[in-house]
């Protein structure tokens, strides 16, 4: 299976990349890691007339810490985050989630930002951004704008980006001091898309849950924050009974679909199980916050 013909450009600066996107609009696709785009092109399910390869825009390849967040440039490979001491220290949840993205060969090329822009409903990176309350900078003909996670992911494979915009940076807030975290997912084989994935961040203060964040992937067109379950946890004493209640709350909140990999009922059940496990693990890691 070979892709259809296209015009190829490999700009070296962000401005040049944007000029190309502006000129070609939705006939152009950005090529970064290519781990989602190129399979679609090989199968001719996607046939962009113009490919804007940003792999030569060196200025986009960075991973730094600033403003209380991990700042990840558009070209930063998933493997870089996986191996990063900064990520391990300041945002181990992201590190744990990125490890489960596909396989090593995919992570060596695939980018975190690319995964966000692709917005697969079972992706880890989109759920991690949602869980941590992160945001992206999108740059386009009108300049730069900041898009928070809950405004970025609109539906299956659909973001609120304009075709002429490029996400140049993603920011994942660091975990609060003493917070516990957990990322857990279930898939039929290691490296498959998750049937359901759950991420949790938990802060405990004075023996009571001060903050709880729960996000799921694979249970809808976009990542889901289990807001009702979160609210019920805040102010409560941590413990197995609490995790069980949260699991039920999550089951009541989500509306997963049937597909050939798993039924809605299975997804609903598993979402609860994973929520319970993730909360227990996060609690085990949490240290009393100051």
């Amino acid at each position: 299976m070979k892709p259809a013909a296209f015009e190829y450009h490999a700009p070296r600066t962000v401005d040049d990349a944007l000029a190309l996107l502006d000129a070609h609009g939705d006939d152009a696709k950005v090529l970064a890691g290519g781990q989602s785009l190129v399979p679609l092109m090989n199968m001719r399910l996607a046939r962009p007339g113009v490919v804007v390869d940003i792999n030569r825009v060196a200025a986009l390849d960075y991973l730094t810490l600033g403003g209380g967040a991990l700042r990840i440039g558009a070209l930063c490979r998933q493997r870089t985050v996986e191996r990063s001491a900064l990520a391990a220290e300041h945002c181990p949840l992201l590190r744990d989630a990125v490890r489960l993205v596909g396989h090593v060969q995919i992570r060596n090329r695939g980018t975190v930002v690319g995964s966000l822009a692709h917005a697969d409903p079972a992706a880890e990176m989109t759920a991690a951004l949602t869980l941590l309350g992160g945001e992206v900078t999108a740059t386009g003909p009108g300049g730069e704008r900041t898009i928070p996670a809950d405004e970025l992911f609109v539906s299956y494979l659909t973001t609120s980006l304009d075709p002429r915009e490029l996400i140049t940076e993603a920011r994942f807030p660091v975990l609060p001091a003493g917070a516990g975290w957990s990322w857990t997912e279930i898939a039929r084989r290691h490296g498959d898309f998750a049937l359901v994935g759950v991420g949790v961040v938990l802060t405990v203060r004075g023996g009571v849950i001060a903050d709880a964040r729960i996000a799921l992937t694979g249970v809808g067109p976009t990542p889901v924050r289990a807001a009702r379950a979160e609210r019920a946890l805040v102010g409560a004493a941590p413990g197995d009974a609490r995790w069980g209640e949260a699991a039920e709350a999550v089951r009541a909140e989500i509306e997963p679909d049937d597909d050939i990999h798993a039924s809605a009922a299975y997804r609903r059940h598993v979402a609860g199980v994973l929520t319970q496990r993730a909360l227990a693990e996060a609690h085990g890691r949490a240290r009393e916050a100051a």
Binding site: E7, D61, R83, L86, V104, I106
Partner: protein, 210 residues
């Protein structure tokens, strides 16, 4: 679409060809460079038969266009053996009957090469997870796992100092090969390189490129 000249290095040797932008790297390696050891399986990034090393990292060559590899350092299965002398990893695969039809084998070998280079000691679970991106229809995987474990032992023994030739090692940050005078970028690179140096075991095992 205009045909372009593509120059790259494979197994330490320079190759030049002409390709349309849509030509996949797999096809360029096989057709334009004459190296047919890299196999075409699924062409959508699932089977791993096309795995090669690009600038030292295992990648799916079916998900790269040849033009993207301009100036890159590739390693393919043809670079493993030294004449008639099998690479220790190949020897382990042979000794442990880790191939039958051999179609998936080049991909497995390249994945194994990068794996053992970066993680010389690993558990069976770690081996299985690391190989999860390569599919085999013949063997049922047991012998492959055994071969990788045996190869790890053989390589750890120190008896094979040249097991990882320069073209099979990461050349450092790809951007560092392009010298530009942007101080902000250099600062980011420096801190990213610092980050990599402190990022655990992998960087300690990687020989310093001068």
């Amino acid at each position: 679409m205009a045909v372009r000249k593509v120059t790259l290095r494979i197994n330490g040797k320079t190759y030049t060809g002409r390709a349309e932008p849509r030509k996949l790297l797999t096809d360029f390696i096989r057709e334009d460079c004459g190296l047919t050891g890299t196999h075409v399986g699924c062409e959508h990034g699932v089977c791993g038969a096309c795995t090669i090393l690009l600038d030292g990292e295992a990648v799916r060559s079916c998900l790269l266009f040849a033009v993207q590899a301009e100036g890159a350092e590739l390693a393919t299965v043809e670079g493993l053996a030294d004449g008639d002398r099998l690479h220790p990893i190949q020897q382990a695969y042979q000794d442990h009957h880790a191939l039958q039809c051999g179609f998936c084998t080049p991909g497995f070998l390249m994945t194994t090469l990068a794996l053992l280079r970066d993680t010389p000691q690993l558990t069976e679970t770690e081996i299985r997870e690391a190989l999860a991106g390569n599919l085999c229809r013949c063997t049922g995987y047991q012998h492959i796992v055994a071969a990788v474990a045996a190869a790890a032992e053989a390589l750890a023994s120190g008896a094979h100092p040249d097991a990882y030739p320069p073209f099979a090692r990461p050349a450092g940050h790809a951007a560092s090969r392009r010298r530009t005078a942007d101080p902000a970028r250099k600062e980011r690179e420096r801190s990213a390189a610092n980050d990599r140096r402190t990022s655990g075991a992998a960087s300690k095992r990687r020989p310093r490129q001068s």
